[in-house]
């Protein structure tokens, strides 16, 4: 970690006046694409929107946008980490955020491997079965926790020092 912090590009990014802020802006604005589309999918799984649109269609047409948003989130997030590896590593909200990210991806993976396999049976149901609603609810909760942790990373000192 110390080695990473001492690489010339890390120092350049850390000390840059605008590049860092632009990367941070991209990271925050991509939230609308990544979490935005994920929330609409989750709300469909909860039966709270687009009740006349088949679940499989919501998934196949919106999930690519969520995926693209996630890639951009991870790429810009990796750069933000690289700009100050030690500070991020020691930030409790950062660790919490990464843990929630792993759980959120695991939740989506489990859902696609289990409940979603039988989507043909409930594709047109306005309110999907319980297993799908639980996955959607857990997903929504994880985005809320990730946004909270992400915002609080800047305020670690307020809470703990």
């Amino acid at each position: 970690m110390e080695w990473l912090a001492e690489t010339p590009w890390s120092i350049a990014l850390h000390e840059s006046r605008y590049v860092f802020l632009i990367v941070l802006t991209i990271h925050v604005l991509t939230l609308t694409v990544f979490v935005g589309t994920a929330v609409m999918i989750d709300l469909r799984l909860l039966g709270m929107t687009m009740s006349r649109v088949p679940v499989s269609q919501v998934m196949s047409r919106l999930l690519p946008w969520t995926g693209a948003g996630l890639l951009l989130m991870i790429a810009s997030g990796a750069l933000l980490f690289y700009a100050a590896p030690l500070v991020r590593y020691h930030n409790v909200f950062f660790r919490f955020k990464m843990a929630v990210l792993v759980l959120a991806v695991a939740n989506a993976w489990v859902f696609h491997r289990t409940a979603y396999r039988s989507v043909a049976l409930w594709d047109l149901d306005p309110v999907p079965p319980r297993a799908a609603r639980v996955a959607g609810g857990l997903s929504l909760l994880s985005w809320a926790l990730m946004i909270t942790a992400g915002r609080m990373m800047a305020y670690q000192g307020y809470w703990f020092d």
Partner: protein, 158 residues
């Protein structure tokens, strides 16, 4: 009373002084503000991607617009109310920030546009709107919303 005096009066009124005494209230409100942003983003993209011929392109735009509007209104209610609180905490500081005024102007424009032209085009029968017109409306909407979010992020930068 000038706008600056009004800002000063708000910021140093008793409830706001009490609010600022808590170091974590501001970040908590800012977090809720961001959650509202995520919901607005989802609701706006649902309709605008469709108008661009992307996303849920097999569904009628009017249906998606009706589905999204509830969540757009909900997201707006959360973001605007928390945004007013965030503004009141440091009103005089924001008064002097160019990005704050850019954001407010873009927000006003996009709200008027969304609930007039955008709404009419999205709710119209798909057969009666040319794809070019739909695309133009979606691009104006996405650009203005991006400017609002961009201004919001840059308000917080040194």
């Amino acid at each position: 009373m000038s706008v600056l005096e009004l800002c000063r009066w708000i910021q140093y009124s008793e409830p706001l002084v009490a609010m600022r005494a808590s170091p974590w209230l501001f970040p908590v409100i800012a977090t809720i503000h961001l959650m509202g942003l995520a919901v607005i983003g989802g609701a706006v993209l649902l309709v605008d991607l469709r108008l661009l011929g992307l996303g849920l392109r097999d569904q009628p735009a009017a249906q998606l617009a009706r589905d999204a509007e509830r969540w757009l209104r909900g997201g707006l209610m959360v973001s605007v109310s928390t945004g007013i609180l965030l503004f009141m905490c440091f009103a005089t500081k924001y008064y002097y920030l160019r990005f704050f005024w850019i954001k407010m102007a873009a927000l006003l424009l996009v709200l008027v546009f969304t609930f007039s032209v955008h709404r009419r085009v999205a709710m119209a029968d798909d057969a009666r709107v040319t794809p070019g017109r739909s695309r133009a409306v979606a691009l104006v909407s996405l650009s203005l919303w991006t400017l609002v979010a961009f201004g919001g992020r840059w308000i917080g930068f040194p």
